[in-house]
């Protein structure tokens, strides 16, 4: 089986991640931050170590562990909301940003502007700046589009956010593990991602990284293991934002995933770029193939259509006849597909990871060539 749906989740995990998860399940999964007995303290120390790993990865001040990236994005969007305020974002956002913003419109009259990309498919920072209004309190930008892989000029936008004194969030769902996501360099206040994608961690965990003590109101309310005498939710980061039991095994395996990523050889990274570039170049040679997003792309995402074919049909043939997994349709990113002109047809997304090989790419290109005939 060829798995080219790594932008949805990386199916193949490093051994060290699987072993860490299993070890924690067997030995370490007490309730972190609840109770002072040895096993609870040990679990808490694992969570502490994982926070340190994430801090070193993203250069953040603190980390809130969540259910997934969507949960992290919701926490920021609802936790920074200002009645009657305005948010600047882009058409490349996932529904995990666009739908909470739409809901905010109903609850608090928050409006948002979704900036469109330039002719090269890239968000222009000056368009972000032009979209700012006097009541804009948040800029939120997808670091890399999950549709085309287009990378946003996040540091330039960071300068704009700083200059205007506006909070700034990055959706790092697709970027973390493939691009540098240093919050200081980007100049953002919040960075959300989920380890089960580019970092090849396990599902069931999201990370909300914060930097520079930005405002944040709790999204979920409940037991925090702190200030238990009061019915008021503590607002401390991270405790006030981590109600209920955390998944210690996923958090322990995140340490392994980050260690694995940090130790990754240059040749592994180069292999991914080579695979992605080859895929892109070889698909372009096939008659009737249209590729979306040609400039400044993630190394691992190639999005395309075959003339006259519905994306879903291409995906079905790939799955049924070539045992190959891609993601077809709208990728939960309707505004991006509207701009690409693919809102009705969808598109085929092939997304690679470090485990894919050039021979898989060759097989895939051959398959597409046959389907396109």
């Amino acid at each position: 089986m060829i798995y080219f749906d790594n932008a949805a989740t990386t199916l193949i995990k490093p051994d060290c991640v699987i072993k860490a998860d299993e070890y924690a399940l067997k030995n370490l999964s007490a309730n972190a931050g609840r109770g002072s007995h040895a096993s609870a303290v040990k679990a808490a120390s694992i969570v502490y170590e994982a926070r340190k790993s994430v801090k070193s990865l993203t250069n953040c001040d603190d980390v809130i562990f969540t259910f997934n990236c969507t949960d992290a994005l919701n926490t920021v969007i609802f936790g920074t909301a200002k009645r009657g305020g305005h948010v600047v974002t882009t058409v490349y956002e996932h529904n995990s940003t666009l739908r909470p913003l739409t809901e905010l419109g109903k609850r608090l009259g928050v409006q948002f502007t979704a900036v469109t990309p330039n002719n090269h498919g890239i968000i222009d920072p000056s368009d972000i700046e032009r979209a700012i209004r006097p009541n804009t309190y948040l800029i939120t930008v997808n670091h890399a589009s999950n549709v085309t892989g287009a990378v946003a000029p996040v540091a330039a936008i960071g300068n704009i956010a700083k200059r205007h004194g506006i909070l700034y969030m990055i959706d790092g769902a697709q970027s973390v593990g493939y691009l540098d996501a240093d919050m200081r360099e980007i100049g953002c206040n919040y960075l959300c991602f989920s380890p089960h994608k580019g970092l090849h961690g396990t599902q069931g965990l999201g990370c909300l990284c914060v930097r520079g003590n930005p405002p944040l109101a709790p999204f979920r309310f409940g037991g925090t293991g702190t200030a238990s005498h009061t019915l008021e939710q503590p607002h401390d980061i991270p405790e006030g934002f981590e109600c209920g039991t955390l998944p210690v095994q996923s958090i322990y395996s995140l340490i392994a995933a980050i260690t694995h990523y940090n130790k990754m050889s240059l040749s592994t990274k180069r292999n991914l770029s080579l695979c992605g570039d080859t895929l892109r170049e070889e698909l372009l040679k096939i008659r009737g193939i249209k590729i979306y997003g040609k400039y400044n792309n993630l190394p691992n995402i190639v999005c395309f259509n075959i003339d006259g074919m519905n994306a879903a049909s291409v995906g079905d043939i790939l799955s049924d006849e070539y045992d190959t997994a891609v993601r077809c349709g709208l990728h939960c990113a309707p505004l991006g597909h509207k701009v690409l002109g693919t809102i009705n047809t969808g598109a085929v997304r092939a997304s690679l990871s470090y485990h894919n090989s050039l021979s898989e790419v060759e097989f895939f290109v051959k398959a597409i060539r046959e389907i396109a005939k």
Copy 2:
């Protein structure tokens, strides 16, 4: 090490649960409900099977998978909220119910009445009924107190809820896996629990069971893999409530956990009751021990204090000198501790599971006897 903190989380998981988690991580963890390729379909079928398992366990119509029980409780409390409405609950609720209700008071002016138990430490259904007001829209009751283990007369309260046409939620965090939690028999609309407690599943998963098509508005907003063209959150259960990637490995291991629970021998269950009863009876014989909640208790929770000692000190001695884990303090249940008169001292909670033995109970009783001297 003796682990008597199973009400926080069960540290020792059955082999089948660990193996299932590991197998799913290695082989099955595509993105369930996202994409139509074979591995995504396989992941979706696992989620479907897990829903079936939960349905057969709780007699519910549908299951929403969440981060943990707190996340499930938040989903119902915020998803049923009525501006200016009133909620009836009990002092035995966990902060995962009380804190969202407190927040609702600020957001929408929702008020709540927390009913106190009778002299036997049990909630009287007639007190629930007396607390109902014309604007009461929800009754929410902790099936079993996480402090004393006191079991609420949930079916009798269910009759009251039905008679008054009021929505009814059960917090099954402590009960599921130790008591029957059949939603039809209870007559509730929502039942929340987390598999990592009584069912000995893994952390990082909660279940929100619904029955009888009750109203529910989404709590989290984002990609659902459905209706991707629209920025409006679908309200379908479960899709509209499961935004972002689900933890397939935890969901797969839940099937194993429920199978393991269903196959559990009568002697295993009797052993737990014997251990709990023995612990309770033997502690009562020690001078200066006060036990909280003597009637209609869970088999596995015994909550007590030693005269003149702070609960935390007892816990520290147990951990340091006896390598024994209990949970001391307020157990995130401040109103219950107020009623018990332990809001300043806290209490010691010993909570057992099916893995504990009578010899551990004997060791523990001896330890408490020595500490109490």
